[in-house]
Symmetry: C2
Subunit: 468 residues, 2 copies
């Protein structure tokens, strides 16, 4: 019953070690439905635990040995124990967001045991404000980050009255899956699942280090072929990491960010990047570690059909990556925003002039940096091609419900790697922009300070744009 593991997934298994657990995570917060009984969370836990028919993705575990000639293969877990994977937990007093983030940091720090299927889900009660949290952890060899977030959302409904919804790991009838998927596609925005699958397929080649691809990428990041690549300065984030994680999350009203964009003639994404830039500048100043030249972020962007034509087999949309100068060397928030806007425009123009091979290479970089960046180093790259990754993925526009509980926010947890100790991933949800910051706890001390700086930066940008 063993099934070979595709090269990308296998690459994540080989790349993983104690310092670099290769799982992505998601934190979702829910408001209990009105009139929920005292033991509502336990009821939900027990109901979700009843899914006897578990989907193959959640049943398989990686094995290798003499019979597989040392290669990783997937085998179904004969001793599958749902209680091991799905857990009911609670926060210590006083149950603030701080305690929740501490727990998520801890859960995100531990590696998934390979002797079992590579996922966990934790239903967490005990929040001071009565909300319920769901932290989910999936190995990168099962899904990429964006697909993970979609998977989490695919089990929810826009209907607050719907109950008895199957959990993520339940085997669903094909018809229902199609419907759920179609619903998810609509609500999630413009990037269909296929695009990610294609991008990941491309990454599979990258993991095998085909010479041409690495060469193209090296040319790109060495600034030899296009305007979209830059040298990034060395920073405290670009160092070896430990296995300890710190996670911080918060959201800001889209309305505030859109107002800044409108008043300054920039996009929502520019404003998100400017928030990150200002926050990182303040953080590095505090740490007395701000380099003279500006930091560079790799920002995955959606490509339109024409650009993506050759990159995506399905002829649909695809994902590329733009190198953005964050302007952290500039003291004025308005200057930073303007600089980011210009860098983004230039980057997108450069992307549109790229060859299919270059787009392919950039896409691989955007989808699986944890395996592509080490490949680049093997290819002879010394200085970091960029300082961090900032992703911003559109999320559901309508409120989502899980068995009547309204989701109030959804935050991604990503994978810091050696040389890239901090990761910022955002997704929109209804009226908010949700930020998830994942870092190595030692390399990025007091990571939660970045939340304060992000908040200050929104105010500073509002003031600069004259909308405060």
């Amino acid at each position: 019953m063993a099934v070979p593991i595709d090269p990308t997934s296998a690459a994540f298994l080989y790349a993983e070690n104690r310092q670099m657990p290769m799982h992505v995570g998601g934190l979702q917060l829910f408001e209990k439905p009105e009139g929920a009984p005292q033991d509502y969370v336990r009821e939900i836990y027990e109901q979700m635990s009843q899914a006897q028919d578990v989907a193959p993705l959640f049943l398989k575990r990686p094995t290798r040995g003499v019979t597989t000639a040392g290669q990783w293969v997937w085998t179904p877990d004969d001793d599958f124990d749902l209680e091991y994977h799905f857990r009911h937990s609670a926060l210590p007093e006083p149950g603030r967001v701080r305690e929740l983030l501490e727990l998520c940091s801890r859960l995100h720090s531990t590696r998934l045991a390979r002797e079992r299927p590579l996922w966990e889900a934790h239903l967490i009660e005990g929040m001071q404000d009565g909300r319920v949290a769901l932290y989910t952890k999936l190995h990168h060899s099962l899904v990429d980050g964006v697909s993970a977030m979609r998977l989490l959302q695919s089990v929810m409904s826009t209907d607050p009255d719907r109950r008895d919804m199957a959990p993520m790991w339940a085997q669903r009838p094909a018809a229902r899956t199609r419907k759920a998927q179609a619903e998810a596609e609509r609500s999630i925005g413009s990037i269909p699942l296929d695009a990610f699958r294609t991008a990941l397929g491309i990454t599979a080649d990258a993991a095998g280090l085909p010479g041409a691809l690495v060469k193209t990428l090296l040319h790109g990041v060495r600034n030899e072929t296009s305007a979209l690549s830059l040298y990034a300065p060395r920073t405290m984030f670009n160092t070896t990491i430990t296995g300890s994680r710190r996670f911080a999350a918060q959201d800001w009203p889209l309305e505030r960010l859109r107002a800044i964009g409108k008043a300054s003639g920039t996009t929502l994404n520019d404003v998100v990047l400017a928030m990150c830039s200002g926050a990182i500048r303040s953080y590095l100043l505090e740490q007395e570690a701000l380099p003279d030249s500006g930091l560079v972020a790799m920002v995955p962007v959606g490509l339109n059909a024409k650009q993506a034509g050759s990159a995506s087999g399905a002829g649909g949309n695809a994902v590329g990556a733009v190198m953005v100068k964050l302007g952290t060397e500039l003291a004025d928030p308005a200057d930073r925003l303007a600089s980011i806007h210009r860098s983004m425009v230039t980057g997108k123009q450069a992307l549109s002039s790229m060859t299919p091979m270059q787009i392919t290479a950039m896409t691989a970089l955007g989808m699986a940096p944890s395996i592509v960046i080490p490949a680049l180093r093997l290819g002879g790259l010394i200085r970091p091609p960029f300082n961090l990754i900032i992703s911003n993925v559109p999320g559901p526009r309508k409120p989502q419900y899980l068995n009547g509980a309204r989701m109030t926010g959804t935050y991604p947890l990503s994978i810091p790697i050696n040389g890239m100790a901090l990761n910022i991933t955002c997704n929109s949800y209804v009226d908010d922009m949700c930020f998830g910051l994942t870092g190595c706890r030692r390399s990025v001390p007091s990571l939660q300070r970045l939340l304060t700086h992000l908040d200050d930066e929104v105010a500073a940008l509002e003031k600069a744009a004259g909308v405060a």
Copy 2:
């Protein structure tokens, strides 16, 4: 800086797999001191987290590789992260003992990751009755079960006013260690730490499978040399196990058990065994799985100086093992108690007539069954030598305090192994006998039913002895 791992410890590392995690555990319950602040548990957690100077036992991790010729060696963890090992947790609502035991079952099911030092401690709040729990997990390659319980108790004090006590993992000045150890020796009863060390030293040979030892043991359990060994029937407990654990714990007043012993002319230990026997009989009847012939328990017992003379290098006390006929085939509680008493007396007499080599062999069996029993099977033993292990270790006689919090109970979690899915370990504490039952969740379904049966059995024994 690598240190070779002694053969016994290495044997536990080699024997371990997903189905048989090789760690022992302890659950301790505490009452907060009067006038404790709202955030008392967090304060305690933070205070305990401040121990910067960690003892070598808690810093070392097992490694092996080309440079060690494939052998396991201990190396200090250069990336040691206390936050990973010591965790602050909480129970979900309603925070009954049931939720606590569920959490402990789950924590006891997961294997310790070998990439880090092999221990964890979880400070648990959220109990309905306001108590605080501490679950501690130590790999059997670091300590044996009894030493683990002693280690846990060595950090406590009989002085309710003492504060700022160092946690288990803190490096303590030698003088203080000696004092703490002396205190522990006094309060814990008659078996000094050395005895266990010696027994474990003996086990080291057993792990290396010296022919004479295995032969002696095989003779013993095949009933060829002495009256203390028996054939045990096959039961549902004597099967292969999975990695899922269920833990149940409860205590009963020593006064009640002593009254039964006094009225029936039996010992406290006999009464404890009779409780287990009656409970197991009721459980197996419920499961329609009671064998016709009575179950046999292996019961570790203390040996007096004369008996132990040759077994213990220090000339002190040592531990042997007696095979006890539990009388589960008898319907009457009084008959079962009488049968156990006779079996125990015979067993101890047999033990006193044993040769030093036989005592050594029995001791090895008592101290490390998880590595000795597989060795016996390799030696040609087909039927189980006994059905389960029931240990009863004397615990502290005076109330113990941890930073002013009075310990109300202390319960051992042990290691089920293939062929031995259930384990019962008891220790006394002040006025109570604390029972800890650890089993494979699949092989011993509804394990917590045994608690009800134990409780019923105390009442039945009281009635039979005329003390109800």
